[in-house]
């Protein structure tokens, strides 16, 4: 018997862009039991396919009653670091992948023309996206909303990836992501613009106790991280409140959370600024969802109070803010920063692989708020089980047993799952 049956559709989507074919095949039961899911299962699937395949996978708890069950993992051999990397995607991407009828998506080959994938109700369509090429991310999203089938979540690349810029980053909607290892470049190489997830279906999770998530919430409610939560508490752990917190002081903020997360670690900022390139218009009001802690700290160190317009420009082009920060002049002005970004877009400077080995393994964007091996283990656990890694880093008192309890109450099953989980975490950390 497969104890993970209620947690998966047990379907895997295989897209061959070269042949313009998309099939949905059954997910191997043995593979699920052995690797549980997420990054570990992605690694196993990756070995089965040739020619730079891309794997988007979910964990057993993705979309379930577990707190912060928002994770989808993209696995690839990074074109920058030349090694296997797993990038976490949060917001609603993971649950929407499952609610679209597949647990995992394999993308191989390269499309003859710019394409975009639409996944819904267990079916995958390859749609033409020639009209989106070189369009900035917000405009491309507007186009898609007008002309494509309905979708709940969207991952796409911007004009930076279209031009082959090494700092390109995949964006979840218009909000950017934690991709700092070249996923966008690989997607663009495949002539793929992005993936739309319909999310129009559902999954009958094992719902013996839907209040289990609330009970876990109670367990962490006394924690300091729970009381002083939010985007800025994570930033404070990263830079001691020296840079990003100060730079974002004047903007209006609102905490935002990913799917089913009790501890929001994102924030929406509203700010007013004046575009120096447009002398006729007045100050403009703008809004931005901040989810990339590492990118914000890196930009704040260079751009100071101009962080938000610069970040907005990075997201507009689909650029990684941390990579861009390396190329910005120290203590410059806003026009100088814009000029530097334009130069990155036109000159395509080589990527400086400044991300530490351990961090680049998990996309380079998961904040290092715990030390060494503990960070590895926590992120590894999150990337397999399908829970947000930042949430697990913030609350180390949530154990793997707490999370596995969402899958089954049977001691025998739990023992098997525990063994399987610890071995997969070890193997993931070693790769």
């Amino acid at each position: 018997m497969n104890p993970l049956q209620p947690f998966y559709n047990m379907k895997i989507g295989v897209v061959d862009l070269s042949a313009s074919s998309a099939d949905v095949i059954p997910l191997d039961k043995e593979l699920v039991i052995k690797h549980l899911g997420g990054a570990a299962m992605n690694s196993a699937i990756l070995e089965q396919y040739q020619g730079d395949p891309l794997i988007f996978g979910t964990g057993p708890l993705t979309g379930s009653f577990a707190p912060a069950s928002s994770l989808m993992v993209a696995s690839l051999v990074s074109p920058i670091f030349k090694r296997l990397c797993h990038i976490p995607f949060m917001l609603r991407t993971g649950p929407d992948m499952k609610f679209s009828g597949v647990d995992c998506l394999v993308v191989k080959g390269s499309a003859p023309e710019q394409s975009i994938l639409h996944v819904n109700r267990g079916k995958i369509q390859i749609l033409s996206a020639g009209n989106l090429q070189h369009l900035p991310v917000p405009e491309a999203i507007r186009e898609l909303k007008k002309k494509s089938p309905p979708f709940q979540s969207l991952m796409m690349t911007g004009p930076a990836a279209d031009r082959g810029v090494s700092f390109a980053s995949v964006s979840i909607g218009p909000n950017g992501s934690l991709d700092k290892v070249g996923l966008a470049s690989l997607i663009a190489k495949k002539n793929l613009k992005g993936i739309m997830l319909g999310g129009m279906d559902g999954l009958p999770f094992n719902s013996n106790n839907p209040y289990q998530g609330k009970e876990l919430e109670k367990k962490i409610s006394t924690d300091n991280n729970f009381k002083h939560r939010g985007f800025f508490s994570v930033l404070k752990k990263l830079d001691g409140g020296k840079y990003a917190g100060k730079s974002l002081k004047t903007s209006r903020k609102k905490d935002m959370a990913c799917y089913h997360c009790p501890s929001p670690c994102m924030t929406h900022v509203t700010y007013s600024w004046h575009d120096p390139r447009d002398k006729e218009t007045q100050d403009a009001q703008d809004g931005l969802l901040l989810l990339d802690h590492m990118g914000c700290v890196a930009l704040a160190k260079k751009a100071g109070n101009n962080i938000l317009p610069v970040l907005k420009t990075c997201l507009y082009y689909g650029l990684d803010p941390a990579g861009v920060a390396e190329r910005l002049p120290e203590g410059g002005t806003l026009p100088e920063y814009f000029h530097a970004i334009d130069k990155i877009m036109s000159d395509n400077p080589p990527h400086t692989t400044g991300v530490p080995e351990a961090h680049c393994r998990f996309g380079g964007g998961v904040p290092p708020i715990l030390a060494g091996d503990l960070w590895n283990k926590r992120v590894g656990l999150a990337m397999i089980i399908g829970v947000c890694p930042i949430f697990l880093l913030l609350f180390p008192q949530i154990t793997d047993a707490d999370l596995l309890a969402f899958i089954s109450t049977s001691e025998d099953v739990l023992e098997t799952l525990r063994d399987s989980l610890s071995s997969t975490i070890d193997s993931l950390s070693k790769v």
């Binding site: 009653f65 609610f99 309905p150 799917y259 089913h260 509203t270």
Partner: protein
């Protein structure tokens, strides 16, 4: 023999429910339960959609939920689409098969047996609350989970509040009646008697006026002092009941408040409740220095009693004082009473000796954290943050005007009038 017509129409299958009218319906609002949404608290995690869908379709499928969270990515605001169980629902007459009913408990329900999924209700509802499932084509609409909404229990941010309507708020009705009678008595019938009134051995005087009189004349007349005791004794027995129930200017302020529901706010540097004690000291000091009762010339309570009576209508320039001070109500509810009224200051000091208090037992209301008591308090002395933390707020009785709106509004009987030596709720630790 004439052919008999056996055709059935909708009235035979599903007769229109007769409108039940009771005597109380003419003056009491019908029972009205609904879920309140607090956009400032919502982080957009979608826990409400998730749990609601499990009840609707027995699987986690946010698109099949009866509640929808709409996320405005530019403004960073979240909105919920949720049935408000209107008193006169528009979906009800729109339904061609009479599948929608409003029960005696005030809950508007769809009878699935009669629903033909035509979707007319979705178009008729101004809030677009009935939601058509894109998969099963069923219409989903909130039925408040028959009185214990799951979304309210699951929301990690308490952004949803279940409000059980009360049939009739008797305190509200009684207070408005007493206020109206007091106003008519003091302003029309007994014009000018609030400041000083004497009939034989019975006398009454305003305590603030008496203090100013002593300061201006330098003599203490025992009879005059004793006449001020009436109001002070009432305050010792029942707190500042005069301010909430009797004060004619308070009645004017309450009327202005009804006309100006939107408040522009009061500058924070002026928000000191100690100001009124300063005004009192200034009034007494000024009277001593100038030799006449300085504040009495502009006292809004005195002027409303003197200048607006039948005998003295349009008599003096005092007419302008009441509208001028009542216009402060545009900034904040009962601004005058909160920050400036020296009569309130004298009564506030006397209230230190009061025998009763208002107590709010957070244990009774923590589950819902509705904070309606804090929202209705006209002088803003109930600490909503304490309630959200599950702690009973301490009500400063020197500021409380004993209007009892909190007692009246609390749907859980958590707000009570107690003797000052009694605990808020037995067994509860008050902070």
């Amino acid at each position: 023999m004439a052919e008999q017509d056996f055709s059935l129409n909708l009235d035979d299958l599903r007769p229109s429910p007769a409108e039940k009218r009771h005597l109380s319906d003419y003056f009491m609002p019908p029972r009205h339960s609904f879920i309140l949404f607090h956009p400032d608290r919502c982080t957009g995690c979608g826990a409400c959609e998730m749990i609601c869908s499990t009840r609707n379709v027995e699987k986690v499928a946010p698109v099949s939920a009866s509640v929808k969270v709409v996320r405005d990515e530019k403004e960073g605001k979240n909105f919920s689409i949720l049935c408000q169980h209107c008193r006169k629902p528009l979906c009800l007459p729109a339904c061609p098969t009479r599948a929608i009913e409003r029960g005696a408990d005030g809950i508007v329900r769809i009878d699935k047996l009669f629903c033909t999924q035509c979707g007319l209700c979705t178009m008729a509802c101004p809030a677009a609350a009935p939601i058509k499932d894109s998969g099963s084509q069923e219409i989903h609409k909130c039925d408040l989970c028959e009185g214990d909404p799951l979304c309210v229990r699951h929301c990690p941010e308490n952004a949803l509040t279940f409000t059980r309507g009360k049939a009739f708020r008797w305190i509200k009705g009684l207070r408005w009646t007493v206020q109206l009678i007091s106003f008519l008595l003091l302003v029309i019938v007994l014009t000018g008697t609030f400041c000083y009134f004497r009939a034989g051995s019975v006398s009454f005087s305003c305590p603030t006026g008496t203090l100013q009189n002593i300061a201006s004349t330098g003599t203490i007349v025992l009879f005059g002092v004793s006449s001020a005791f009436a109001l002070l004794i009432l305050t010792i027995l029942s707190g500042r009941l005069f301010c909430g129930w009797v004060c004619p200017f308070g009645f004017v302020l309450d009327l202005v408040d009804k006309m100006t529901p939107k408040k522009i706010g009061w500058p924070s540097f002026l928000k000191s409740r100690m100001t009124k004690y300063g005004v009192l000291a200034g009034a007494v000091g000024g009277s001593y220095a100038l030799g006449f009762q300085v504040f009495c010339t502009i006292c809004p309570i005195g002027t409303v009693c003197r200048a607006y009576g039948v005998q003295s209508f349009f008599r003096s320039a005092e007419l302008a004082i009441v509208p001028a001070l009542a216009s402060l109500e545009i900034a904040q509810r009962r601004s005058w009473c909160r920050y400036f009224c020296p009569v309130g200051a004298v009564l506030g000091l006397t209230a230190l000796l009061r025998l009763i208090k208002i107590a709010i037992g957070a244990k009774k209301c923590k589950k819902f954290s509705c904070i309606q008591c804090a929202e209705v308090c006209p002088v803003g002395i109930i600490d909503a943050d304490k309630l959200r933390e599950g702690l009973s707020p301490k009500i400063p009785m020197t500021e409380c005007i004993m209007c009892m709106r909190c007692v009246d509004r609390c749907p859980y009987d958590a707000a009570k009038i107690r003797f000052r030596w009694q605990k808020a709720v037995p067994g509860e630790i008050r902070t």
